[in-house]
């Protein structure tokens, strides 16, 4: 790359302008990286949702309960492999900002239904033996520095205990890991049998069912069959794929993906103007120099390449630093202090980031580059 220093030295020409442009590009890419991680946090559940899993909930709303007895009825339907229920506990650990999901689950069914959660045989045995046991995700355990053997008090907001107590105490017996990076390890599971006998009201009622179907291609059919089964009963159901269910959950806050895309588009449009402006000036100021290069024997195409190279150098320096900073920021932890199930920049987004850098370089540089390419030596030297 013998033209390298030529490209870079032209960026030294107006150091302050180059610096400011690089900084704006950097900011855009920090934002890109960081917002991508946030978006990923909301999408993660949807992305890793089991394609073979359906969620059966109350037709009216997710907060209405269903009879536990539905599990057997669902399992008897054709195309259903297994069903297991979960319930939203909605308790508070120490203070409300320490939000995380707690759910009573059927201890054995859990592993069959959610093979993405991995624990050691030893801890699994302890979980099956301990009625007050809790199974927590690795991310959650790290967030609060919990270890196996810790006793965790959770204050109920929905489920009071028999006798009126609100503080439930659980013993951490197991910590699960996720099979992949996107797996949600921010959850707190405890045992349904313990829950059902301890709660003051709602005995025999559960939040929703996860249903695994035999053939994912026929999931829609099975979903319809489940809803038909309970039509006209006291508890009508709505069955949807797990991904759609999680998406719906996230959308309660708003269409995160759309909001983030809008912010990103506005930022990139602005930065594109900044970079384009810089490149336009960079070329206009040096028509003479570019003409001299041509006079010396650089081809029109060569000068075009030099200007595009300069544009790329500008965006690449800013963009790479920006992505690097975003990576650092993201690895320092999520903005909610741990409430996100996952928080990282996926590799594909880094790749996309570099593609954006190249695209930005091209769009910002192409018009000035063409202008440089068309420059007539004799005309330009007279100016």
């Amino acid at each position: 790359m013998k033209y390298f220093y030529l490209v870079f030295s032209s960026l030294k020409r107006k150091k302050l302008r180059t610096l400011l442009t690089v900084l704006s590009i950097m900011v855009a890419f920090v934002l890109f990286g960081y917002l991508t991680a946030i978006r990923q946090a909301f999408d993660a559940g949807v992305e890793v949702a089991g394609a073979d899993r359906l969620i059966v909930r109350h037709k009216v709303s997710i907060i209405q309960l269903l009879p536990e007895s539905y599990e057997d009825k669902i399992e008897r339907l054709e195309g259903v492999d297994n069903a297991a229920h979960s319930t939203w506990f909605g308790g508070i650990y120490q203070e409300p900002r320490n939000f995380f999901a707690q759910m009573p689950m059927e201890p054995e069914e859990l592993f069959d239904m959610f093979p993405e959660y991995i624990i050691s045989d030893e801890q699994k045995a302890a979980w099956l033996e301990t009625r007050s046991g809790a199974l927590v995700g690795r991310g959650l355990a790290e967030r609060f520095d919990w270890k196996v053997g810790d006793r965790i008090p959770i204050n109920a907001t929905i489920w009071t205990k028999k006798g009126g107590g609100r503080t439930w105490e659980f013993d951490i017996v197991a910590i699960y890991d996720g099979v992949e990076k996107g797996t949600d390890t921010s959850q707190f599971f405890f045992r349904y049998d313990f829950f059902d006998e301890t709660r003051a009201g709602g005995t025999g009622q559960v939040g929703w069912f996860s249903v695994r179907v035999n053939d994912p291609d026929r999931a829609a059919e099975v979903a319809a069959a489940i809803d038909a089964e309970f039509a006209n009963s006291a508890f009508e159901t709505k069955t949807e794929p797990e991904g759609a269910f999680i998406q719906g959950f996230a959308n309660q806050i708003g269409n995160i993906g759309f909001i983030i895309m809008s912010i990103m588009s506005a930022v990139f449009f602005t930065i594109l103007l900044v970079a384009g402006n810089t490149m336009a000036y960079a070329v206009r100021e040096r028509t003479g120099e570019l003409a001299v290069l041509k006079a010396i024997g650089f081809t029109d195409r060569g000068v075009l390449g030099l200007v595009l190279g300069e544009s790329l150098a500008l965006t690449l320096v800013g963009g790479a630093i920006g992505l690097g900073l975003a990576w650092m920021l993201v690895s320092m932890g999520d903005p909610t202090d741990g409430s996100f199930p996952v928080f990282y920049i996926p590799f594909s987004s880094i790749f996309l980031g570099f593609a954006l850098i190249a695209l930005m370089a091209f769009i910002a540089g192409i018009l000035p580059a063409l202008q440089a390419q068309r420059l007539q030596i004799a005309d330009a030297l007279r100016r």
């Binding site: 013998k2 220093y5 024997g297 650089f298 030297l381």
Partner: protein
């Protein structure tokens, strides 16, 4: 590498005209001009401002194309070359020296002189070596790391000459090379050009307004109203 003046013709310009459009008006700058320059000549080109000296120089250097006529250099019709081939031809055969030096302000003298060599297949080390030799020829070995703004006008022009000769071109074209310099620096530049012509046999065309400068040349032509003559016309 002393070349003997063989008096074979290097530049042949035949019936050349250059037309510029100013609005709807057409300006014929060179009216069917003829010119022959033998190999090894140091030609001074004089004439009033606006007479077309730079225009003629640009045509001979392949920086522009004539509206009419032929430009042959070393037996080759350069006005017929494609843009791409013409650029390659310039890189190989033409060295240019400008009135205002036209150095890259962000590059050191050394890098400025290396610039034309980027277009060759020479290795990095070879480029460096040749640029150093060129700077030595113009007497600037001690200034290689300096930027143009750190040099006097005379030194900048000598850097410009080093850049022009570094590829060992067939033709050296200088458009008022001393026009922006004081007498002393100007004389040094002329000494240098004269030496390049006499010792290395470089063919030089120099546009100038200065009779002292023209006196250094082996021949002087005057351009007026689109025609060349050996006598100044007032």
């Amino acid at each position: 590498m002393t070349k003997i003046n063989t008096n074979s013709t290097l530049v042949t310009v035949t019936g050349v005209d250059k037309v510029f459009k100013r609005g709807s008006e057409e300006i014929h700058v060179l009216g069917g001009l003829d010119l022959e320059i033998p190999d090894g000549e140091f030609l001074a080109l004089m004439g009033p401002s606006g007479s077309g000296k730079s225009t003629l120089l640009n045509l001979v250097g392949g920086l522009d194309r004539p509206s009419e006529g032929k430009v042959e250099i070393g037996g080759k019709r350069i006005d017929k070359l494609s843009d791409r081939k013409l650029a390659a031809w310039r890189a190989r055969h033409v060295g240019l020296v400008f009135q205002f030096y036209n150095l890259m302000p962000v590059l050191t003298a050394q890098k400025n002189v290396e610039l034309p060599l980027l277009l060759t297949k020479l290795s990095r080390a070879e480029r460096k070596k040749r640029a150093a030799i060129a700077l030595d020829i113009v007497g600037l070995s001690h200034r290689t790391g300096h930027y143009p703004r750190q040099m006097s006008g005379g030194e900048q022009q000598r850097t410009g000459i080093a850049r022009a000769i570094v590829t060992d071109p067939t033709l050296l074209l200088c458009d008022e090379p001393t026009g922006d310099l004081d007498r002393k620096s100007g004389d040094e530049i002329l000494d240098l050009l004269q030496a390049l012509n006499q010792e290395q046999g470089k063919t030089i065309i120099m546009v100038t307004h200065d009779i002292h400068a023209a006196a250094r040349a082996t021949r002087t032509l005057y351009l007026n109203k689109g025609q060349l003559s050996t006598e100044a016309v007032d």
